[in-house]
Amino acid sequence: MRFEGSKTYVATDDLKLAVNAAITLQRPLLIKGEPGTGKTLLAEEVAASLGLELMQWHIKSTTKAQQGLYEYDAVSRLRDSQLGEARVKDIANYIVKGVLWQAFEADKPVVLLIDEIDKADIEFPNDLLREIDRMEFYCYETKQLIKAKHRPIVIITSNNEKELPDAFLRRCFFHYIQFPDKATMESIVAVHFKNLKKELLDAAMASFFGIRALPGLKKKPTTSELIDWLRLLLAEDIPASALQAKDGKDAIPPMHGALLKNEQDIELFNRLVFMARQGR
């Protein structure tokens, strides 16, 4: 099994190497990077290009590690017992399988995405050490050992909101998705827009990287925002010349609201453009 990127997803060489290392050496791959660099998308693309099923576990601040393994629905068992139902006798009726359990018992290897692991409590990754490492866990209620039939390809994403424990990190491979450089960005745009005029693309890229380079932005525009913005520009049929003033500098790009999503950033941006004009 080898991941080589796909028609709809531009993977840089180091990212491909990271994924292939994770597949070959059977380690979980931890992905970090700026928002909008395609962390979550990576798992979908890996699954699609290898022809494997994708199982997703989206982590919230209230998620517990146990929920990924299984949950014992004691409350409904208690309720059933009061109503005298027959199924109460078998505890297995009240074990709800979690994503990890499903991934472990799948007949084919699957891609398992643990999305935004940093959202959970700080102890969450520690509770998954053995499961991630040995790919097995014990279900105490039914007294059975759940062991992976095939080791799933585990991809974990993090937005860096919390630090992950060292013991957990030691068991993972770590890759940081760098914000794409201009050439990579052009190929990403080419994937999304088949017939984009060269001059519009050049002008749009110039404004985009110009805005990203502004000091002090609260939220820098990312790939997905660039794509949205280009879509808008195309829908409104805006010519490339509208993106650049005659002297080639500091025009306010049309519909910059698609790029800057925060009123402080827009204010800062307008102020800078205004100052640049006054300076002339």
Binding site: L25, D121, R170, Y176, Q264
Partner: protein, 391 residues
Amino acid sequence: MLLDFFFQLRDAKIPVTVREYLTLLEGMKAQFMTPSLDNFYHLSRLTLVKDERFFDRFDQVFGNYFKGLEKNMDLFAQLPKDWLEKRFNREFTPEEMAAIEAMGGLDKLMERLKELLKEQKERHEGGSKWIGSGGTSPFGNNGYNPEGVRIGQDESRNRRAVKVWDQRLYQDYDDELEIGTRNIKIALRRLRRFAREGAQEELDLDNTIESTARNAGWLDLKMRPERHNSVKVLMLLDVGGSMDDHIRRTEELFSAAKSEFKHLEFYYFHNCVYDFLWKKNHRRHSERFQTTDILRTYNSDYRLIFVGDATMSPYEILQPGGSVEYNNKEAGAVWLRRFLDRFPKAVWLNPEPEGLWQYRQSVEILQNIMEHRMHPLTVGGLETAMRYLSK
């Protein structure tokens, strides 16, 4: 040989362990990639480094360690001719092929390459003759010459001629300090206020038993909200000048704090707060933030922590124009009061030993402004400060 590399990484305070080293060896044994220095760089970073903070330090160690090695590599021995020709046919457009013919054909190009390889001793960037990166020579990476021969980066399409580790892309991520300070971390844990908020989640057993009993034995479930950490912290750190002695301890505090809070924002100032603060010390003149913006941005439920030695001339606090950096219109004290009005929960942590405070007039002034919420940067002082903040 790699063991040396491993220990150099450890010397650079990158937390690599034996287990990770063995994983790297396993990865090299598995041979799933073409052996090249670039790929080795990526594989070793993937397996050994687990935080982008350490990438910059890793790049430096890697660069140092492999500088000698790269020079000794006999590139030409590794490039068999028919392989090159195959690549030429695959990679070049017909126009480029014609351009190569113009130079005298492939054979001539290869001869010239051989000569140059003999002549060239050092690693090279730019220029129009030597093999290296950039420039217009036909050989090396990233050239503008259509006849260019791409060496060393056989599989790469990202066209980065400068070695990735030489670019120091990750400099900004380094916050330069390991958490070696368990005691501070423990004290900071005090700050984690477990507010009862969030979705109905947990079964409240005591309450359930009680109300089931009241309900004549019929089950009556009671839930209670899940606990989670909701403390937000805004840190303002004094850098430069008389503070430099204490920067190490301040950063210890900072790196310990990072994992404990829901939100942690930090800004730098020099001696006292005025119109501007900044986020990156080396860009303090180009990337400044208006203090008024900061006061507006963060809610008053943020806990404010100043860290500084509070040692300066009294004018810097009390007089307009007293700043050592520029002419400030309003006195530092005015700005301080604005902060305290906005963030009622505020403390000042002072890394200077408490015994010295009485000799400094500015400490006394600040103590008054802070209403005696200045504490020394010791575990005891932190305990007191955190207890106040978590009230």
